[in-house]
């Protein structure tokens, strides 16, 4: 026995009724409905965020430009120049040259310190692996994303630049937002 779809058959309406009066009425009626819809958008007002003046707040976990940290009490650098961040970096943009601390000039809390610490931000992919790799939480990802510059060499951030208290140019989302 052939398959009988029964009540599952739906009548397909390929086009609205074709007569002039109904078409005209439909054209004007639907036009008015559309105009109501667009006018409602005007009433709602613009949703644009006026970027340079007004910024979308970022989430706390947002990965922006790196920061190097010091101990708050002693003022010593947390980085001990172990180069684990450089090893973890998939873009190979971190360069660390370590040196021994001496009793006269003590720079970091550990045995050694980073004499050179450079991040080439034009290569960095902001994956945050350096932050994970760091055993002393010396490097973390900040929230700043406005880092464009005119020359490539200006994008190589040195240790002093990364240690400096950054200008917080990015608003942070508050809890529950």
């Amino acid at each position: 026995m052939a398959y009988d779809p029964g009540s599952d058959v739906i009548e397909v309406v390929r086009h609205p009724p074709r007569n002039a009066a109904a078409s005209t009425y439909r054209i004007f009626g639907e036009t008015l409905r559309g105009m109501k819809t667009t006018l409602a958008r005007v009433v709602e007002g613009p949703l644009t965020i006026q970027y340079p003046e007004e910024k979308t707040p970022v989430y706390p976990r947002f990965r922006g430009r790196h920061k190097l940290h010091r101990f708050e009490d002693s003022g010593l650098e947390k980085c001990v120049g172990c180069s684990l961040c450089a090893a973890a970096c998939p873009a190979d943009c971190i360069r660390v040259v370590s040196a021994e601390n001496s009793p006269e000039t003590r720079i970091s809390a550990g045995e050694r310190y980073a004499a050179v610490y450079e991040i080439n931000l034009s290569r960095c992919i902001f994956c945050g692996y350096c932050e994970i790799a760091c055993p002393f939480d010396a490097i973390t990802m900040g929230h700043d994303y406005e880092m464009s510059d005119y020359t490539r060499s200006d994008l190589i951030f040195t240790k002093e630049m990364l240690l400096a208290e950054p200008l917080e140019r990015t608003p942070l989302r508050t809890e529950g937002e």
Binding site: A20, T24, F28, T38, R41, L47, T48
Partner: protein, 339 residues
């Protein structure tokens, strides 16, 4: 002596010249602001602000753009027909500006002891003059598309020819209803005939037909098949850049203004105010401008709302719905007026 176009009020020649310059200067001063108005309003319709960076509220945007356009290199495709290629935009803008002369901004007023009609010229064949100019303005589009020597421009201008001619018929027929009711062809006469009731009420059908046909006549959405950017790159002005392009752009806006003014004059009582309010004479032009702004806003509103029609839909709508409706409207009006 019979005249073909009797002017209903004669003024000294120097007043004519002053009026012509004044109308031209004011319209071309307002035109750039109108482009900003369109873009800002269109932005609001799409949840955004539109231009707001150059100058206060972005009002200097057209100035920046005109400077940019004027500094562009003048070039033309090697396949183009030089003379016609340069003539076409000029033709387009000249006919558009010619239409401005007809807009009645007010009646005859006594200014500093001289009687001055607040219009460019009041000919006894007003609407025919506008249609004649509209007929010539097709050449601007047609020649521009053909002389560019580009397939897409040519397609655009072919569409323009078919679309503009078919919709001009309906527009004209819708207008005849008003002319029969007013029993005059002078635009100031038509306004004065509307002292009792504005014609958009007795001529509602004619008004709607006129408005729809006007959208097609000015190449505005949803009838902008002529410049359908998605299919034809830009239609007839694809190959134009710099100042000739601005000429086409301004011609479109001037045409919009003329059509808005015509609609305001023929159906919305020109400079008259409802409820028997009779303001002093100097208010008249502002009333006309306010009514024009209503239509301008409508043009933009429709552009933000409706998608472009398919070409066969456009044609069948024009010939199968609009034209019979306009004819019917004309017949019914004629029977009522005569009976």
């Amino acid at each position: 002596m019979s005249t073909i176009a009797a002017v209903s009020y004669f003024e000294p020649w120097w007043i004519q010249i002053v009026k012509a310059i004044l109308i031209f200067a004011v319209i071309f001063g307002v035109l750039p602001i109108l482009t900003v108005y369109e873009r800002k309003l269109l932005g609001r319709f799409q949840h955004r602000y539109g231009p707001n960076r150059v100058g206060p509220y972005g009002l200097m945007q057209p100035l920046a753009e005109i400077v940019k356009f004027a500094r562009k290199e003048a070039f033309r495709p090697t396949t183009s027909v030089g003379f016609l290629f340069h003539l076409a935009p000029a033709l387009s803008i000249l006919t558009a500006v010619g239409g401005l002369a007809l807009i009645p901004w007010g009646g005859v007023q006594n200014i500093l002891g001289t009687n001055v009609g607040l219009y460019g010229i009041d000919v006894s064949v007003g609407p025919l003059y506008v249609f004649a100019l509209g007929g010539i303005s097709f050449y601007g589009i047609l020649l521009g598309g053909w002389a560019s020597g580009s397939k897409y421009s040519f397609l655009g201008s072919m569409r323009a020819a078919a679309q503009l001619i078919s919709y001009e018929v309906s527009q004209g027929l819708a207008l005849v209803g008003v002319l029969i009711t007013a029993q005059t062809l002078s635009l100031t006469g038509i306004v004065n005939a509307q002292r009792g009731i504005w014609y958009f009420i007795p001529q509602l059908c004619g008004f709607l037909i006129f408005m729809v046909a006007s959208f097609a006549e000015t190449n505005r959405a949803p009838f902008d098949l002529v410049e359908a950017d998605a299919e034809l790159v830009g239609g007839y002005f694809t190959e134009y850049g710099g100042t000739p392009f601005v000429a086409y752009l301004f011609a479109e806006y001037v045409n919009m203004m003329v059509v808005s003014a015509m609609a305001a004059t023929l159906f919305l009582g020109g400079w008259l105010l409802p409820f028997g309010i009779h303001p002093p004479g100097w208010v008249d032009p502002f009333v006309v401008v306010a009514k024009m702004m209503i239509f301008m806003t409508l043009f933009i509103w429709i552009r933000a709302t409706l998608p472009r029609l398919r070409y066969d839909q456009l044609m069948s709508f024009g010939w199968k719905i609009l034209l019979p409706l306009a004819t019917l409207n004309l017949l019914v009006t004629a029977i009522i007026v005569v009976a």
